[in-house]
């Protein structure tokens, strides 16, 4: 558990039809690192996450979680093995309330999450864990609200609460700040920092550069399906390709 990097990608390539979407991406993320992933729209960042989480299978190459090859493992196995993620557009279970959403995630950690012989109770461990997670993102008072009626920012927070409740070792965040109002950005940044501080490995795709720069230990840059660089934030920001292809005048 210690010798291996938390996540390793080896020569990952993805072709769909004629399109070459990922080109020979190799990357190693050590345990406990916060890796920012940036790149122009359509560079393949979400695709990369989909490959890591198992929604897509690479055409070539391998994915390793804590040293174990998971390239052919289905999504739920990887998740159960400690890989958590959020989606670029919020996805909760709209018919369930906030607490139930998070409790589902908490049950998985406990095991026998889908047992017919166990009935969730207000007082059981999974519920307590879920409430604690909601507390952590500041959503405890909304526990009984229906998930469909939440505002955008609230949904993002609940998603992160689900992650916390799952206690994953590796976390993939796909644009957690997208659509979050300026007012909420600092608070959410703190929540993410908290996720990371627990020693978890975090990969985060984000277009808000100051968030990336403020949080990331290292920044990976993707462009046209290739991994251009994975380096310290300063080095990446200084990279001329990044400047022209990604940042534009905003740099």
């Amino acid at each position: 558990m210690t010798d291996h990097a938390a996540l390793e990608l080896e020569h990952v390539t993805l072709r769909i039809g004629g399109a070459h979407i990922l080109k020979d991406v190799s990357l190693s993320v050590p345990e406990g690192e916060m890796l920012g992933v940036i790149g122009p729209n359509g560079a393949g960042k979400t695709t990369l996450f989909n490959i890591v989480s198992g929604i897509l299978r690479p055409t070539e190459g391998a994915v390793r979680l804590a040293g174990a090859d998971v390239t052919t493992q289905p999504v739920h196995r990887r998740a159960a093995a400690g890989l958590g993620r959020t989606f670029q557009t919020s996805s909760l279970f709209p018919a369930l309330d906030v607490l139930e959403n998070v409790r589902l995630a908490a049950q998985v950690r406990e095991g026998r999450a889908a047992s017919v012989f166990r009935t969730p109770r207000r007082t059981d461990a999974a519920t307590r864990r879920a409430l604690a997670a909601l507390e952590e993102v500041g959503m405890a008072q909304r526990a009984d609200a229906g998930a469909s009626g939440l505002s955008h920012g609230e949904k993002r927070k609940v998603e992160i609460a689900m992650l916390i409740a799952m206690e994953p070792r590796v976390i993939l965040l796909d644009e957690p700040m997208a659509g979050v109002g300026s007012a909420d950005v600092p608070a959410l940044t703190e929540v993410i920092r908290g996720l990371h501080r627990g020693g978890r490995t975090v990969l985060m795709v984000e277009h808000h550069m100051d968030v990336v720069l403020g949080l990331a230990d290292r920044v990976a840059v993707m462009h046209h399906g290739e991994l251009l660089a994975a380096d310290s934030p300063e080095a990446v920001m200084a990279n001329p390709t990044v400047q022209s292809a990604y940042l534009g005048s905003a740099a």
Partner: protein, 242 residues
């Protein structure tokens, strides 16, 4: 296209109420959008910006008075409003995932001579992906399709909901440029979280708070007033919000 009388607002909203699933999400909102330039609609998450725009378009249950260049449109069905020259760029992109990029654009063409070249020059990335199904585009690419669908026609008014959400910084610039360009021919009502973009584009702002208008006025007046920015938008420093 006959331009409206110079000082008559292109859009005037009076006492607008909107409901979703029986819940009041827009309450007594009134404001004007002048016939030129960009008016920004601001407010924290969940105050009802999107709902206000949807109410104007008749996409959700609404009551109140809405006029487009003086004519009442609050009883007209959505497609009629749009046919009168109102384009809409929705918050969540809402591209048709099972259609190709080209089909998405073709569906949006209302004018007899749509401005295909303009769109092609604005978003060369899309040109290369004309036959790709929009559902497989990256988030940012979908946003471009969504914008392109609005810009392909000549419009009297653009309603644009968070166009830069999820876009790479460089594309944010480009979109801002595109909107600035578009604003020269048609006024825009813009919802935007990125205050840098707001500062760059908007002449006037309307600020909502829990479903009501709390501020209307020139953009600088608000943005230069840290106190108000802090109060209305909860932001300490606009840099922080970029």
């Amino acid at each position: 296209m006959s331009g409206p009388v110079a000082d008559e607002p292109i859009l005037s909203v009076r006492n607008l109420y909107g409901r979703i699933a029986g819940q009041q999400v827009v309450e007594d909102v009134s404001f004007d959008v002048p016939a030129t330039g960009v008016t920004a609609l601001l407010g924290r998450n969940g105050v009802g910006k999107t709902s206000t725009i949807k109410s104007i378009l008749g996409l959700i249950d609404r009551t109140g008075e809405v006029r487009l260049a003086g004519e009442r449109i609050d009883r007209a069905p959505t497609h009629r409003i749009v046919q009168r020259g109102v384009a809409y760029v929705p918050e969540d992109r809402e591209v048709f995932g099972s259609l190709t990029v080209a089909e998405n654009l073709r569906l949006a063409e209302r004018d007899r001579s749509p401005r295909r070249e303009l769109v092609a020059s604005l978003f060369p990335d899309l040109e290369a992906r004309r036959e790709q199904r929009a559902g497989t585009l990256s988030g940012g690419q979908q946003q471009m399709v969504s914008l392109a669908r609005a810009l392909v026609n000549e419009n009297r008014l653009l309603l644009v909901d968070e166009p830069t959400k999820g876009l790479a910084p460089r594309i944010v610039d480009e979109v801002a440029d595109a909107l600035a360009e578009a604003a020269r021919t048609a006024p825009i009502l813009l919802v935007e979280q990125n205050l840098l973009v707001v500062r760059r584009l908007a002449e006037r702002v309307v600020v909502l708070s829990s479903g009501r208008v709390v501020f209307t006025g020139p953009a600088e007046e608000l943005l230069d007033d840290h106190d108000r920015v802090q109060r209305f938008l909860g932001v300490h420093d606009e840099r922080e919000a970029a």
